[in-house]
């Protein structure tokens, strides 16, 4: 029954919006699914299931042989997705009485079966499964499985289910492979800890807390080191005899998106830094980096026009030596020494910012206006490298947000707990007589403000499009954001970083909201 069980897990994951709900479903899977299906499912969830896949044409031919073409076309028209159409329309075979295959069996047979025999094999499975399992199977064999959960979430569920720290699972993760029998044995207390033996391993990152007014008052300049907070992507660089990887902050392998950095990774160390796109010494807008991240195999042109580099700020391992228990100052000295020795291309070291008082540091922060700098990082001089977000060791001290007064234009219902509230807001600025939408915000307000907004929207709706309501152009919202950047992809020509609702300006008439030109003028060319 396991393909069916796995299919219903996938279906529930897709329909369940809340993180906690997804975790509950995953824990239930780990607790109840039999081996080896349990681990094959985990591999599919973690995106680590390397499967020989069939072409969509195979499924097309199969279903064409069993259904009327007119009915198939009408059904496809109605359903939209072809795989789903096939799953639903596939005629059940009364008397096809074999038991449905297990998940591991499916994966194994796909590997072993010759191309010529594949259609018959797949058809025999479709005959004995129900619609939701047929859908999962078709997506699985054609390589289009979307699971509605990330690798990180699957591992978090694994940690919660087994009572093992997530960090410990991450440490061994890259030394285990599907169907993960030794991993499950270890997590259930029935076997030894798997040995990640030299393979590149993601080590959980040390994270910072946002610095608030009350925390700031207690800081003494002498205890702290400061760096710029770059608006890039946090990466961990792992390189050694077992191979080299770039890991995202969540432990995802993003190496494939940055082949231009691969020649730099010839050393043996684990480093922490920021991935940036830099042109002629200038850090490019975040959107440029995002384009690189979105491409799994970027072309030469993209690599050339969006050159990537890594700005280092910490060292976790030098060779086999684990430096994480050293204080920050000692690690920093090791990082600088390591860098002087290795001189890896396309990397540099994020400079320390000298300061002698907290007041001086505050002035430095206020003076930073470049879009590539989000503010400052404060790191305790004597802090070890501790995974996770331990309060009081690292602070992120973002510069004050910029604000604009914008007019609410559209509202949409939120998800999960917020699904009964209009909680996603599209707002715009004036250009001449017309309002131009410039962004969306779905945070920043208090519960009370949300209730008020929800009521206001219901009472001031002028049109409805599905879940979206258009409202009277009367309500002014003060919107805070971290940076504004020019963007060709937006009608307004501008994109905001992290817009959120700072205040509802009931006092202000819509005609006095900000103008688009005013915002554009604040963006450096």
């Amino acid at each position: 029954m396991s393909v069916k069980l796995f299919a219903s897990l996938l279906e529930s994951l897709v329909y369940t919006p809340s993180r906690n709900g997804k975790l509950r479903l995953l824990r239930h899977w780990f607790a109840t699914a039999p081996d080896p299906d349990r681990g094959v499912g985990l591999a599919a969830l973690a995106g680590e299931l390397a499967l020989k896949t069939a072409k969509p044409a195979l499924v097309r031919d199969l279903v064409a042989g069993r259904t009327d073409p007119t009915l198939l076309a009408l059904s496809h028209d109605y359903v939209g997705d072809f795989a789903e159409t096939v799953a639903l329309i596939w005629p059940e075979r009364p008397g096809a009485n074999q038991p449905p295959p297990g998940l591991a069996e499916v994966v194994e047979l796909l590997e072993l079966t010759s191309k010529a025999d594949l259609p018959e094999l797949i058809a025999s499975w479709l005959d004995v499964l129900d619609a939701s399992a047929r859908f999962a199977l078709i997506k699985l064999v054609t390589g289009g499985l979307r699971v509605g959960a990330s690798a990180r979430l699957a591992k978090t569920a694994l940690a919660e289910w087994s009572g093992t720290a997530l960090d410990e699972i991450e440490e061994v993760w890259h030394g285990v492979a599907p169907p993960y029998i030794p991993l499950f044995r270890w997590l259930e207390g029935k076997g030894p800890r798997p040995d990640p033996n030299g393979a590149p391993v993601f080590r959980p990152l040390m994270l910072a807390h946002p610095l608030e007014e009350k925390d700031f008052a207690a800081l003494h300049a002498a205890d702290w080191r400061a760096e710029w907070k770059w608006d890039g992507i946090r990466v961990q660089v792992t390189s050694g005899p077992g191979g080299a990887r770039l890991w995202s902050r969540g432990g995802e392998d993003v190496s494939a998106s940055f082949p231009d950095l691969a020649p730099s990774l010839t050393f043996h160390a684990v480093l922490d830094g920021e991935l940036l796109v830099v042109r002629e010494g200038e850090v490019a807008p975040f959107a440029d980096l995002q384009q690189r991240l979105n491409r799994k195999a970027p072309g030469a042109k993209l690599q050339q026009q969006h050159p990537a580099m890594i700005r280092l700020y910490d060292i976790l391992m030098d060779g086999e030596e684990d430096l994480r228990s050293l204080p920050f100052d000692a690690r920093r000295a090791r990082l600088e020494a390591w860098f002087a020795r290795e001189r890896p291309p396309l990397m540099d070291v994020s400079p320390l910012i000298p300061f002698s008082s907290m007041e001086e540091l505050a002035a430095i922060r206020d003076g930073a206006r470049a879009a590539s700098i989000e503010g400052l990082m404060l790191k305790r001089a004597d802090s070890a490298y501790v995974p996770g977000r331990v309060k009081g060791l690292w602070w992120k001290w973002k510069r004050d947000p910029l604000t604009i007064d914008a007019v609410l234009m559209y509202a949409q219902r939120g998800h999960g707990k917020r699904s009964s509230f209009y909680s996603d807001f599209t707002f715009g600025l004036w250009r001449g007589e017309e309002l131009v939408p410039i962004g969306k915000a779905y945070s920043g307000y208090t519960d009370e403000e949300l209730l008020w907004l929800d009521r206001w929207i219901r009472n001031n709706t002028t049109a409805r499009f599905g879940p979206v309501r258009e409202v009277e152009k009367e309500l002014v919202l003060e919107v805070a954001f971290d940076a504004a950047q020019r963007s060709g992809r937006h009608k307004s020509g501008v994109a905001l970083r992290f817009p959120r609702i700072a205040r509802i300006r009931r006092d202000k008439p819509a005609s006095e909201a900000d103008r688009l030109e005013t915002l554009m003028a604040t963006i450096p060319d």
């Binding site: 709900g21 479903l25 009915l71 009408l74 219902r413 699904s419």
Partner: protein, 346 residues
């Protein structure tokens, strides 16, 4: 003597399907002097007709929904199977298996027989009498789910899915969107069959018809109004509400509600996901694709008339089976059990 083709005495008019010699309409969409009503759903049973002929249950439901005065100036009950002559047309009502009191209208004139099925289903339903196929010359059917992608699973399996989710999220409220007449009561009956004996909290809009079902002899077990005062009842429970309420302010009283929707449309993911449904339940009071075709075959009618729905696919499939399909394109049917419903109507 050759009997007349039903075409000659049964036709469509703007008001709906009209029997000429009998001078009455079946499920007319606007007020007419004489109407036969198949069942109480508001797209079939409209107010302010002159004389209304229907089953006892349908008339009780109509009076409850539209008020005694608007359910027909003259209201005539007729039990299933009893023959009534109207201007030489023999009229009989047979169970349609759709909701309590639902009936097919069997009409015979000069040896020719037409059956108007209204809405119908073929699955067993503890809350109403099962569909009885009647051989005929013309069978008038709906085509709500007339695409081969619509094959309703066993409702007991869907209830199993629901109870599994309730067990997995014992601190949350599962709130099922369902229409007030038929679906709500069938869901409760299915839950009872599955051994669910807790009091079922109901949205105010569902209570009246559930009470009515009980008065008409369909036991539903303990029911409670889902009021804020009954909040303690919601944890880990299954609450029923109209589809428009499950995502609305009303649902805020519930404990971290899991929005569910019970409808044949839930078979298609995109339809289910549009409305933010977290647990789609494919439970329908209409025939699915196979049941439509099987029923058309069982009644042995050479001609099938289709009132509303996806007639194109059904006509195509009937042609391959040697039955002639004809689309009547009746307006106003199949779109009224819903208001602002995420999943569409039945």
């Amino acid at each position: 003597m050759l009997s007349p083709h039903p075409e000659t005495w049964l036709c469509t008019r703007p008001e709906g399907l009209y029997c000429k010699p009998g001078d009455f309409f079946v499920d007319p969409v606007r007020p007419v002097p004489r109407a036969v009503i198949t069942h109480g759903h508001s797209d079939h049973a409209r107010p302010d007709h002159g004389a209304v002929l229907a089953t006892h249950e349908t008339l009780v439901i109509m009076r409850a929904r539209m008020g005694k005065d608007r359910a027909g100036r003259v209201q005539q009950e007729i039990p299933y199977g009893e023959v009534l002559e109207i201007n030489g047309v023999r009229v009989t009502l047979r169970p349609a298996g759709h909701v309590l009191g639902s009936a097919q209208v069997v009409m015979e004139w000069k040896g020719s027989r037409a059956v108007v099925s209204g809405d119908y289903k073929r699955r067993s339903d503890p809350t109403c009498a099962p569909f009885e196929p009647v051989p005929c010359d013309v069978f008038v059917t709906e085509a709500t789910f007339a695409l081969p992608v619509f094959r309703h699973p066993d409702p007991a399996e869907e209830i199993g899915k629901l109870l599994h989710s309730v067990a997995l999220f014992p601190e949350r409220t599962h709130v099922i969107g369902c229409y007030a007449l038929g679906k709500a009561q069938r869901l409760i009956a299915l839950l009872r069959e599955a051994g669910w004996d807790r009091p079922v909290p109901l949205h105010g809009a569902l209570m009246k018809l559930c009470r009515l079902y009980e008065e008409l002899g369909v036991p539903l077990g303990p029911l409670e109004p889902a009021t804020v005062a009954n909040k303690a009842l919601f944890v880990g429970n299954i609450v029923l509400a109209p589809p428009s309420a499950i995502q609305d302010r009303w649902a805020r009283r519930l404990a971290e509600p899991v929005p569910c929707l019970a409808s044949g449309w839930m078979r298609v993911r995109q339809r289910a996901r549009q409305g933010g449904v977290e647990l789609p339940l494919v439970i329908s009071d209409h025939a699915d694709w196979d049941e439509l075709l099987d029923t058309c075959a069982e009644v042995q009618a050479p001609e099938i008339w289709i009132t509303h729905g996806r007639d194109e696919a059904l006509i195509h499939a009937l042609a391959q089976r040697g039955q002639r399909g004809r689309a009547l394109h009746l307006v106003g049917l199949g779109d009224d059990e819903i208001e602002d419903e995420p999943g569409g109507g039945e």
